[in-house]
Symmetry: C2
Subunit: 149 residues, 2 copies
Amino acid sequence: MPKLDLEAIPQINLTGYPPVHADKVQGRWYRRLAPATGIVDFGASHVTLKPGAWSSQRHWHEGEDELVVMIAGEAVLVDDHGRHSMRPGDVAVFPKNDGNGHVLINESGADCVFVAIGRPSATDCHYPDIDMHLDGATNAFRRKDGSAF
Amino acid sequence: MPKLDLEAIPQINLTGYPPVHADKVQGRWYRRLAPATGIVDFGASHVTLKPGAWSSQRHWHEGEDELVVMIAGEAVLVDDHGRHSMRPGDVAVFPKNDGNGHVLINESGADCVFVAIGRPSATDCHYPDIDMHLDGATNAFRRKDGSAF
């Protein structure tokens, strides 16, 4: 059925981050819409951020565009240009390789919900605020000096 | 800036449909987010349907996945399985080549708004309810017998 029964799609809060950097996303619950529906042209996640949760560590991708559509609640988009309130109906676009690290943070007292679109990460991802780097070739998180966690 | 100033992006109601099939989308106003932001991995349109407007003629693509996120107002999703109300926060996914023609129709008295994601059409598109077909190789609309409009 084209209209999704979102409640029927499993909601997970898994992360591949090493434990030292995983605390921020413990309250990030998401449904992967592409595997649930069979689409392959792009990925899509229906994300709920509990109060205090971050969408990710602040990051930018060398090779993947991203787009976010806010559905409910309020988040703060933090990037190199400052803080920007994101409310239902707001849209943000993160062009690949722009060097502008971004993250959505739920600083409110209620859940916020958005849909995030993007292809699976297959290139390096940069984390300007923490000592972590995603190597696109191996899809492994490393410290910035290349050492393993 | 990642957060889009949607009001600053031109809103258009152009269609490539032949005039005989274009009336349904006269009240469809959209902003193309990919050219406005430089993303290339997928296309994205911020669409407002005026009361009575259709998102398109009912159709399905052989080679492009599509996804819709409702932001405001209400639309009726019509497909082979019937009619489904789409309200803010609802998500619909249209997998390529599923043979299930779909359209969003604004039957309400107020505008409705959604974001639609998909790659540019490069394959045949089928319109089950009208005598029209999109040839992917030439990107031209033809009647189903192949004749030109």
